[in-house]
Amino acid sequence: MQSNIPLFPESASSISGSVDQLYFFLVAVSAFFALLIFALVAYFAIRYRRREGRQARQIHGSTALELGWTIIPFILVMVMFGWGAGLYYRNSRAPLNATEIYVVGKQWMWKMQHPEGPREINELHVPVGVPIRLIMTSEDVIHSFYVPAFRIKQDALPGRYTSQWFRATKPGKYHLFCAEYCGTEHSGMIGSVYVMERAEYEEWLRSRAAEEPLSAAGKRLFDQLGCSGCHRERETSRGPALAGLFGTTAVMEDGRRVTVDEGYLRESIVNPRAKTVMGYEKVMPTYQGQVSEDDLVRLIAYIKSVQ
């Protein structure tokens, strides 16, 4: 057994400090009320213990007290709500300049894909101080990407993308856990996030330079699968233009406006009939079963890169 028992996790991201602050506030309020109740119960149990000749006083209640101990807790919990919701909202918005890393979870491993090319399994190397946005999906069941030291967690779902972001602030090696029960080796679906100094990270990237950048791999796949038959940089009669497409708002045939994000692109490849852009025929074949989640990540990375 360890000689020193850890009682608090490391704080290694730009948000972990503020999450801990809120946590300590909650601990303080909880400790106060718990101790208050314990003390009152103990005090009353002793002070008003049963004694010969003394009767209880039958007190019906007190509207003032009831209002008091309804309103004060209400205010306190609203503070908790506001603080927590505000932090949560701010933490949900990835900085615009975040490096995007794709994560595909599957029973029972995590596959990471860096844009520069390196692929990792159960390990994620990142530079300190750089915001990283994880775009995640699952090949099978629901998993959850959890890095306690960063105080971040988000489920990875099959059939769609979810995302979360972090900016590591302290070099080191940190636990990565799957936090959504996913079958036999759920407890084995773990790994490490390695936060490195910039120079070290560049060195690490250079050592993996042989791996093809993600968008280039995507372009290769794009041509291989015949996508370029209908989708070019500029609009063709068969499919919308790719140049600058990502992030725009597309109008569907029924008038619906849809943001062209990773989820929309993925759906358009595996289930093209779900949404059809206004002005186009429903001629796109589905690629369901022909492309893996890893392939989809490459294709999407390519499409995102077309200016």
């Binding site: 999450v19 946590y23 003394r54 209880a56 039958q58 007190i59 209640g61 003032a64 908790m80 099978d140």
Partner: protein, 544 residues
């Protein structure tokens, strides 16, 4: 034994009561007497508790070491799944309502039985049938989906006996619905003359609120389970994206029931606490109306918060915020109750009998459990602690530290009424203290483990988590001993306990005005109620 005990001499013949009104198996298995049905439930849920408890023991033994070395991963996954399913559906949800509720609801309102005695018996048979099917699933190899059955793991990927277990839970749900139906109709239509709504014991208000949830919520889980089974068997694309389904839809449907379900588990226990605190401080409850309305508020608000189980599921941020604020709101009525129980002690005349020790244990542990719920309702902290041991600790504080302690307190309090026997008081107090200490040793370290980042449902974990896990397992041993003691001395008391009179606690309440044990029809003549609940003697003070 308190000085108020009335003890019958050993040579007196026990008169005819509901226990000796017939000795045949048939008179028990075909009974419509709510009191006998309560005992049928008692035996059944105690057996389930022991099965669920053995699974818990195995879980804690495995977690003594960081490696998975006691059982295989698959076995462990089945152990925690079955532990959860059995404890929730086959122990906690029925416990107080089906045992104490069935026994006491008619008596407390001055009725001779529930509105539908045969439906009451039916509810037990339905429960047993569902239970047998669930146990068959266990014997056949069990289920490994977690009690939460998340899709698409449960609907497509799990190789375990999902459909069989689903059928078992589906059937058992009807037992809940029938019980809830019976209670609501009974409370509305069978109150004795003078028993107005605001003279009802708070135990009745609690069961009324619980019954609303049982009736409205249980059908949703029933249908959800059917959909999972259909997807598994017929490959319908409801939840599995590979078939065109939506896995988050399952979570919404599941939690729509399963969150109110936790209020099914806690509301009855709050009713018990109101009864214990008043009797053992010989005081009327402080703030009767507020406690009664809080029970209803919890039942209603409890249906509006389910999304707090889904903050990191892919649910929208906006939805998260709505569920977060509502979750804080539902905490307020519970806090109000804790304050009212504490205030009831003020200027009371307090006796620390075993039931009161359990009530105090409840107040302490439920308070901690409820406060830690705030950490989970807070969006930014929930992201870190959801799906970790923090959640495991939180719900065990409420369900075990809260509901189970109230159940034990209630069982001790009404044991003389149910059995006509007194239990040994010193052993009971010892057991209450052991349970309290063992419980805290088991589950408090888990809050720390959770914030450290130890995920739940892990059978192997990083080495640095071992010390806290060992601590927790040691506590579980003490807790287990604390549970075995009542089993032993309560059974002992059936044969050797002193005989109880009708009111060994000198308590207020219609159940204490009839014999212990009661006759089959409870009352010789229909009582007429003229007093408020808990109308103990002493100087009346309207408002502090």
């Amino acid at each position: 034994m308190s000085g108020d005990t009335q003890v019958m001499g050993p040579r007196e013949e026990p008169r005819t009561n509901y226990l000796n009104a017939g000795y045949t198996l048939q008179s028990w298995l075909l009974t419509t007497d709510h009191k006998r049905i309560a005992l049928l439930y008692l035996i059944t849920i105690t057996l389930f508790f022991m099965v669920g408890g053995i699974f818990a023991l195995l879980i804690r033994l495995e977690l003594l070491t960081p490696q998975g070395d006691l059982v295989t991963a698959d076995t462990y996954n089945r152990l925690f799944t079955m532990h959860g399913l059995i404890m929730i559906f086959f122990f906690l949800i029925p416990s107080i309502p089906a045992v104490l509720g069935n026994f006491l609801v008619p008596i407390m309102i001055g009725a001779r039985d529930l509105a539908f005695p045969r439906i009451n018996l039916l509810s037990w048979y339905v429960f047993v049938l569902g239970g047998i099917i669930a146990l068959s699933a266990a014997v056949a190899g069990g289920v490994d989906t977690g009690w939460t059955f998340y899709t698409p793991y449960s609907s497509t990927y799990s190789g375990s006996h999902v459909v069989l277990m689903a059928i078992g839970v589906f059937i058992t749900g009807f037992s809940s619905i029938l019980t809830g139906l019976n209670f609501i109709v009974t409370i509305h239509t069978m109150r004795a003359p003078g028993m107005t709504w605001f003279r009802l014991p708070l135990f009745i208000w609690a069961h009324y609120a619980t019954s609303i949830i049982m009736i409205l919520g249980t059908p949703v889980i029933a249908i959800t389970i059917v959909l999972v089974a259909l997807e598994r068997v017929l490959r319908l694309g409801i939840f599995d994206p590979a078939l065109g389904g939506d896995p988050i839809l399952f979570q919404h449907l599941f939690w729509f029931y399963s969150h109110p379900a936790v209020y099914i588990m806690i509301l009855p226990s709050m009713g018990v606490i109101s009864e214990l605190v008043t009797c053992f401080s010989r005081k009327r409850i402080f703030g009767y109306n507020f406690i009664a309305y809080s029970s209803l508020a919890i039942a209603v608000l409890g249906f509006l918060v389910w999304g707090h189980h889904m903050f990191v599921s892919g649910q929208s941020i906006f939805a998260g915020m709505v569920f977060s604020v509502l979750s804080f709101l539902v905490a307020i009525p519970s806090a109000v109750k804790v304050f009212n129980w504490t205030a009831t002690l003020y200027k009371g005349s307090i006796e620390l009998s075993a039931p009161m020790l359990y009530a105090f244990g409840f107040i302490g542990l439920f308070t901690i459990g409820g406060l830690t719920g705030l950490f989970l309702a807070t969006l930014a902290t929930d992201v870190h602690v959801t799906d970790t041991y923090f959640v495991v600790a939180h719900f065990h504080y409420i369900m075990v530290g809260g509901a189970l302690m109230a159940y034990l307190g209630g069982m001790h309090f009404w044991w003389p009424k149910i059995t006509g026997r007194l239990y040994p008081e010193l052993w009971a107090r010892l057991a209450a203290v052991l349970v309290f200490i063992g419980f805290n040793l088991t589950f408090f370290p888990q809050f720390i483990l959770g914030y450290l980042g130890m995920p739940r449902r892990y059978f192997a974990y990083p080495e640095e988590f071992q010390a806290l896990n060992v601590f927790s397992t040691a506590g579980a041993a003490v807790l287990g001993l604390g549970y075995l003691l009542p089993l032993a001395y309560l059974l002992w008391s059936l044969k050797y306990g002193a005989r109880a009179g009708s009111n060994p606690w000198d308590a207020k309440g219609l159940e204490w005005e009839i014999a212990s044990p009661p006759t089959t029809f409870n009352f010789e003549t229909t009582p007429v109620v003229t007093e408020d609940a808990y109308d103990y003697p002493g100087e009346e003070v309207a408002v502090v």
